[in-house]
Point group: C2
Chain length 297, copies 2
């Protein structure tokens, strides 16, 4: 098998890695060229400019994941419905340039008539399975729109999205709370865990977020701790909605800053999680580019 150009093309950023036949990263690059910055029709040109050199050896293939497969992206790759394993996703991979450039579809799920979607996270989940050897567990992908996915025997049986990252940004930058909160203050673990504990009172985030205002108003929490408290209130609310058994394997995939917070909140609930970063994306694209009978998941 040849080298693979693996690309995660998101809404606001674009990351690529050149992988050898075993999936090892030879080179990587990242650019502020998310799909929102690319004119319709200009995707081929942007791709060739940034990755043309990597594609030079004849037979080199490229596999892309993320929002590049959405309606606003390069080519729309229709969602693959859950339950879905690597084999189902592989069958739905869409060729942009036959034999050269392909794109991974996202996953969809449905709860009580309301759809849910992911694009790109499914690749990280399959990559995390390949890297950890796990075929069962709860895979948590913090970000602007967090995903909580359940995996059974290598198949993603279902998932839910939580707009936690976006709620945090809205509240800390655009709400009444922004007047007292320093959104860029470093994590204060004690205040964060106080927020996590508070979220368990059954009153929901619309009430508990207001505490970040009143604790400041009454001088009960220093301004530098308020952002950690608010973050704890939001992440705690997510955990509240999940029934996690002590025996469940929990895998966190994402940036160190975010996964650390989830690990702290889970630890407070008696659950230890494993953490993976960008390597899950490359492992996932490598796994999906490999024929069924050669893959781990």
């Amino acid at each position: 098998m040849n080298r693979l150009v693996a690309i995660d093309w998101g809404t606001t950023s674009l990351r690529g890695a050149l992988l050898d036949a075993d999936g090892r990263v030879l080179e990587s690059q990242s650019h502020a060229r998310g799909i929102l910055s690319v004119e319709p029709g200009a995707f081929t040109q942007v791709f060739e400019t940034l990755f043309g050199d990597w594609m030079l050896p004849a037979g080199t293939r490229c596999l892309i994941s993320g929002m590049a497969g959405s309606k606003q992206g390069w080519v729309e790759a229709p969602y693959c419905a859950c339950p879905a394993g690597a084999a189902e996703v592989r069958r739905r991979v869409l060729e942009i340039e036959p034999g050269r450039i392909s794109i991974v579809p996202g996953l969809s799920d449905m709860h009580d008539g309301v759809p849910d979607v992911m694009r790109g996270e499914e690749v990280q989940i399959f990559g995390a399975m390949a890297l950890t050897g796990l075929r069962d567990g709860l895979f948590v992908l913090p970000g602007t729109h967090n995903k909580w996915a359940r995996v059974n025997k290598g198949t993603v049986t279902g998932f839910r999205t939580f707009m936690t990252g976006e709620f945090y940004a809205l509240l800390s930058q655009h709400s009444l709370l922004s007047r007292t909160i320093d959104a860029d203050a470093p994590l204060d673990e004690a205040a964060f865990l106080q927020g996590v504990a508070q979220s368990d009172n059954g009153q929901g985030v619309m009430h508990n977020a207001f505490g970040a205002r009143t604790l400041a108003l009454f001088g009960r929490m220093p301004a530098r701790e308020l952002s950690s408290y608010l973050s704890g209130v939001l992440i705690g609310e997510e955990l509240r909605t999940q029934s996690i058994h002590a025996a469940t394997d929990v895998v966190l995939i994402g940036s160190e800053a975010l996964t650390l917070r989830y690990a702290l909140a889970l630890h407070a609930a008696g659950i230890e999680a494993r953490t993976l970063g960008a390597e899950a994306t490359w492992a996932g694209l490598h796994a999906l580019s490999t024929p069924d009978d050669e893959t781990t998941p």
Copy 2:
């Protein structure tokens, strides 16, 4: 007793009414002169310009409620802690100009070490008690920061704030959802109640709000209904946190557009509510300006 100049001086707006000795509204006016628009030190001047004529007859008194009593307002009137009835609030009324202009303190409450506050809504609650004759019940004040207050024997025993109005504004105007939602679309009752029902799934608003995105993405809800759906998800979440017994008297106080939505959501849960508007403010200021032994609440 003389006439009373009753003023509700909020963050972004200012409303005043001239009441006769029985509390009847003789004249009223409203201005976009909330406390945020008044320079520190200029409150007296703004007051005299707008209400000087009403104050002319010697012995006319003025009672003010709302954010004018906050740190950023005219004079800071420290919060009165719950439980608090009209008598307790009356004792904490602060004189700005002795015998002429006074200001009502807000209420504070405390849950598990986290404070909660209201300024102005307490006057509407006392007014609603005077107007309805109720001395027990659940008083709900929708707005940017909604209040749910429990009243027992004429005393506000406790309350909680929900940032529902602000969450709706943030999500419909500044989030990913704003791309598909028409925040100004008229209320669609069916979509609203669908959102209320959805909020009962135990997944919280950070998940359920995302449905306003995916229902649009999958063509399962027309764009004009999405704002009603989101509104239902948020208001339904508030109701979820309340344990309302069928025998509880529920009073909604606020604008017609908002109280209608709460009445619909409560009706869907088998609870009929009474609704009051601005008259509750005037009745409350009148009640608080009257000596203890003459008042209804």
